[in-house]
């Protein structure tokens, strides 16, 4: 059973875990979230903007082919692959490929570093970058990360990770300058989002109340 659980990619097998709070802390969540590369997970992102008639619903896959690479592949409604590796982001689109160095956008580099720390289960590294707060139970938890670094804090007020047991289901990003909250649904939540279009439905999927 344990073997099956850890070998599988995000699956709601942890639902079976006891809901008591004993031994339930940040370390427990990080231990559960830790995933050695390679890994992949589907995602659904809903991006809203005052310039758009309706929010943009972007689906695709996040991949970590190795410990130093993060790939965001958009499959719908257009195709776009962003590869972040060795301090460089390469964006491949139908119109061509653009490359820019993360040196010019240090916030992105920090975000990449925090994903690395998260997926490696490296709590000290994560604590250096964020103030961490944990809510909920093993069956339904929310991990809130508030950036300590002034530069990152100027862009991002907080990140909230929602999960069930070992499954990271959703990330909410709240921009600092009064921007709109952006939501990325992953794993089981992303699969469950197929066909759900209304905002309330997606929120409850993300936060695990659905």
């Amino acid at each position: 059973m344990m073997l099956w659980c850890s070998a599988a990619l995000p699956l709601p097998c942890a639902v079976a875990a006891p809901a008591e709070t004993a031994g339930f802390d940040v370390d427990w969540v990080l231990r559960k979230l830790a995933r050695p590369a390679p890994m992949r997970t589907g995602f659904v992102e809903v991006r809203d903007s005052k310039l758009l008639q309706r929010p943009l619903r972007v689906t695709g896959e996040y991949r970590r082919p190795d410990a130093d690479t993060l790939v965001r592949e958009v499959r719908s409604p257009y195709r776009e692959t962003t590869t972040i590796r060795a301090g460089e982001a390469v964006i491949a689109r139908a119109g061509g490929t653009r490359t820019f160095t993360l040196d010019r956008v240090p916030e992105l580099r920090q975000l990449q570093a925090s994903f690395g720390a998260l997926l490696a289960g490296d709590r000290p590294a994560l604590e250096r970058l964020y103030a961490i707060e944990l809510d909920g139970t093993r069956a339904r938890w929310a991990l809130t990360l508030a950036p300590r670094d002034r530069q990152l804090a100027a862009r991002v007020q907080r990140l909230t990770l929602f999960g069930r047991g070992a499954e990271l289901r959703c990330i909410e990003t709240l921009p600092a300058d009064g921007g709109r909250l952006q939501r990325t649904l992953m794993a089981g939540a992303a699969r469950a989002a197929a066909g759900i279009d209304d905002d309330a439905g997606l929120v409850s999927l993300c936060r695990g109340s659905g």
């Binding site: 008639q53 943009l56 010019r104």
Partner: protein, 770 residues
């Protein structure tokens, strides 16, 4: 009483001089004037060009967020300080352009319109891209720009204006992991002016310390101006230290030689008077005095120290000082007059620096000589010990007389000198003045590292564009753009900062204007492009307005562009002089100078490739040629004066032959040792020749009176010892310029002394008598 008055006069003169003297470090004043406008531009750029006025600044030793705050604070303070013309620390934002009336000009400044019209297919591609941008994690950042700038023209301009290489940003400012926060500061003062650079550098430190925490950060500087300060301080420190030690040695020597403290004090007065009056003469003849003139001048004035020493050595027991000086004076006067007449040749050279040198040296020698003759004897005590009575001196004279003096020796030495000069390794002349004041390797490495990280321009190479006006320069610059791009792609250079990078020519801007659509056409194209895309209707109204403004706007010329954040940068690249406008193109990472040279040649005289180092060396060569010509004239004048003064060709030969042979022997030995001869060596050779003239004159004069012979030997020995003491110490310096002077004079003094002793005529008379 007289002594007090003399000292008081010197103090007063010294005070005058200290008030009026501001030696200039401007190398150009020491150089021949340029003949063509281009040559004059080169001379200006050598010290005044954008590269030479640039200081590379790094702040380290604190956490990055503190350093970033300090970098912003420091840049803010320095930008308000008139000593700096430009301060860049990486917070390169376009707000200056964004907020103002210049914003619509983006369609005239960006090259997009050259390739592309704002039609429906192009707009559709662009809007699709923008939708995808909004769907990306970076969408937030772009949202506010899109309504007025859906083609991201501002970004295209930013890309174009941003240097090819820049350090990483932290909190909006340049920050390198190794060197901390980095800034580029351009001083108003030229790079070669150590005094002004010192003030500019001190200003940076003061501004930093005025900031909270500023005192705790480590400030490091690099760049030509900083180096000139470091080098002049280093050279001065060592020269001062050596000067102190050799002064002490000199005091001991004089005390030993004359056993009198009064002799010591009085002996210093003539040279001091000569130097001070010489400076006063300079100040009243020339608008500014060059630092090198003073350095060379003081070196040459070293000859005058011999005058009082000769007087002191030639005192006879029971004879008044005045009588002694009178008997010595004809010979001394010959020496002084011939040196002064020789230096007249320098005045005739027509080069500012050499004329100053002549005025200073001639005035100094005359004042030192005349004060030795007319003032010094009045102060010397009436009773002295005659040095002729010293037993060791008699023995020394006897052993000198016993020295073998083969007639073939001078000819053998001359032959050896010629052979050595022919066989010597390496180049004969050292044309690179900078080689004489080399920088520590660690500083050079750091300079290279910072320069590469900052993409700072090369200080050596420059392309100069020439046209009738600024518009002509910009058009020429546009024609060069593709050629430079090809060379960059081929790896010949890392980057070139062309004026048209910041401002296109009026012609080019008008072409772009003609390609902009009118309102109905643009609105129709937008409608068509937006079909199938989820943008709200009317989202891009601000874009349509801006394009219409750009269509109607008067194209930007250099003057109007001055209001933009990069206006100053462009202004610094354009120079108007003598009816032409020059555009300075700074280069960096030049790997293939020949390719750039070929590019310039292909454009005739409109594009000129400047190698400032080669130009500086060419100027040194030109300068040296003038010195050599002046020297040739000086040598002829010297021969003439000596012949007239001694009224005998044969006697003149006995004076001039050892002097000439010794001079060439010094050259030959130094060349054989692999030393390349610089201007400083030449000046040192001239000083040594001046000293050698004294030795030869006095030994030639050798009377039949053994006591007088001994006095001459004593005087010459004291003079040789003191010269060796002072210049021998300099020869030990590890700064090449001091070593060059010290070694040359020391060798010269030795050779001149030995040869004038061995080739003196009395020995032959003695031999013949025997």
């Amino acid at each position: 009483m007289l002594a007090l008055a003399w000292v008081a006069a010197l103090v007063w003169l010294g005070w005058m001089v200290a008030r009026g003297l501001h030696p200039s470090g401007d190398l150009r004043e020491f150089m021949p004037r340029g003949q063509t406008p281009m040559q004059r531009l080169v001379l200006d750029e050598m010290g005044d060009g954008p590269g030479s006025r640039l200081l590379l600044v790094s702040l380290a030793g604190l956490p990055p967020e503190r350093l970033a705050a300090l970098s912003k604070g420091l840049a803010g303070l320095l930008r308000c300080d008139p000593r700096y013309t430009q301060v860049v620390n990486g917070d390169f934002d376009l707000t200056g352009l964004v907020d103002r009336r210049l914003l619509p000009y983006r369609y005239l400044l960006s090259p997009t319109l050259d390739r592309q019209r704002l039609d429906a297919p192009y707009l559709h591609v662009q809007l699709t891209q923008r939708m995808q941008d909004l769907g990306s994690p970076a969408g937030e950042l772009l949202e506010e720009w899109l309504p007025s700038d859906p083609t991201l023209e501002l970004l295209a301009i930013a890309e174009r204006w941003r240097p090819a290489t820049m350090p990483p940003l932290y909190d909006g400012v340049w920050m390198s992991a190794r060197d901390g926060a980095l800034l580029l500061v351009q001083t108003r003062a030229p790079g070669f002016d150590p005094t002004a650079q010192q003030a500019a550098i001190a200003g940076i430190g003061d501004a930093l310390r005025a900031l909270a925490d500023g005192g705790r950060a480590t400030l490091t500087l690099s760049g030509p101006g900083y180096f000139s300060v470091v080098l002049s301080a280093q050279t001065r420190r060592q020269a001062d230290w050596i000067g102190l030690v050799s002064t002490l040695g000199f005091i001991v020597l004089v005390l030993l030689a004359y056993r009198s403290a009064g002799a010591l004090l009085l002996g210093a007065l003539p040279v001091l008077s000569g130097a001070l009056v010489g400076i006063v003469a300079l100040l009243s003849w020339f608008p500014s005095v060059h630092g090198i003139t003073l350095a060379f001048g003081f070196t040459l004035l070293g000859v005058a120290q011999e005058y009082p020493l000769r007087v002191l050595s030639h005192r006879r027991a029971g004879e008044s000082a005045l009588t002694g000086v009178r008997s010595l004076w004809p010979l001394l006067a010959t020496a002084i007059a011939s040196a002064c007449i020789a230096y007249l040749a320098f005045y005739a050279s027509g080069v500012g620096g050499l004329q100053q040198l002549a005025v200073f040296t001639i005035t100094g020698l005359l004042v030192a000589g005349l004060s030795t003759r007319y003032l010094l004897p009045l102060l010397l005590p009436s009773q002295v010990r005659d040095v002729a009575g010293m037993a060791w001196l008699a023995r020394a004279r006897a052993s000198v007389d016993r020295l073998p003096r083969p007639r073939w020796l001078p000819w053998l030495l001359a032959l050896a000198a010629v052979a050595m000069l022919v066989a010597a390794p390496g180049a004969f002349w050292q044309n690179d003045l900078a080689a004489l004041t080399p920088l520590p390797q660690a500083q050079l490495q750091r300079d290279l590292r910072l320069r590469t990280a900052l993409g700072a321009p090369d200080v050596r190479y420059l392309l100069v564009l020439r046209a009738a006006d600024a518009e002509g320069v910009l058009r020429l610059s546009e024609r060069l753009e593709p050629e430079i791009a090809r060379l960059r792609a081929a790896g010949a250079l890392a980057d070139a900062e062309l004026p048209s990078r910041y401002l296109p020519s009026l012609h080019r801007q008008r072409l772009r204007q003609q390609r902009l659509p009118d309102r109905p056409a643009l609105e129709a194209a937008l409608r068509q492009a937006q079909r199938e895309l989820p943008f709200k209707a009317g989202t891009f109204a601000a874009f349509v307005d801006d394009v219409q403004r750009a269509r109607a706007a008067e194209p930007l010329d250099a003057a109007a562009f001055a209001a933009s954040p990069l206006g100053e940068r462009l202004a610094a690249m354009l120079r108007t002089r003598e009816g032409a406008t020059f555009g300075l193109v700074t280069l960096n990472g030049v790997r293939d100078p020949a390719a750039l040279q070929a590019l310039a040649r292909a454009h005739g005289d409109r594009v000129q490739w400047l190698d400032l180092k080669a130009s500086a060396e060419a100027l040194v060569v030109d300068y040296r040629d003038r010195i050599l010509r002046a020297l040739a004239v000086a040598a002829m004048l010297l021969v003439l004066t000596i012949v007239v003064a001694l009224r005998s060709l044969r006697r003149a030969w006995h004076v001039l032959a050892p002097m000439t042979l010794a001079t060439f022997l010094v050259l030959a030995v130094e060349r054989m040792a692999g030393i390349e001869i610089s201007l400083f060596h030449l000046v040192a050779l001239i000083l040594a020749a001046g000293l050698g003239l004294h030795y030869a004159l006095f030994f030639e004069h050798d009377s039949d009176d053994p006591a007088e012979q001994r006095r001459i030997l004593h005087a010459t020995l004291v003079c040789v010892a003191s010269a060796l003491l002072v210049f021998g110490m300099l020869a030990l310096s590890d700064i090449p310029v001091l070593r060059a002077i010290g070694l040359t004079v020391s060798l010269g003094v030795l050779f001149h002394f030995c040869l004038s002793l061995l080739m003196a005529p009395h020995a032959h008379r003695a031999e013949a008598a025997r």
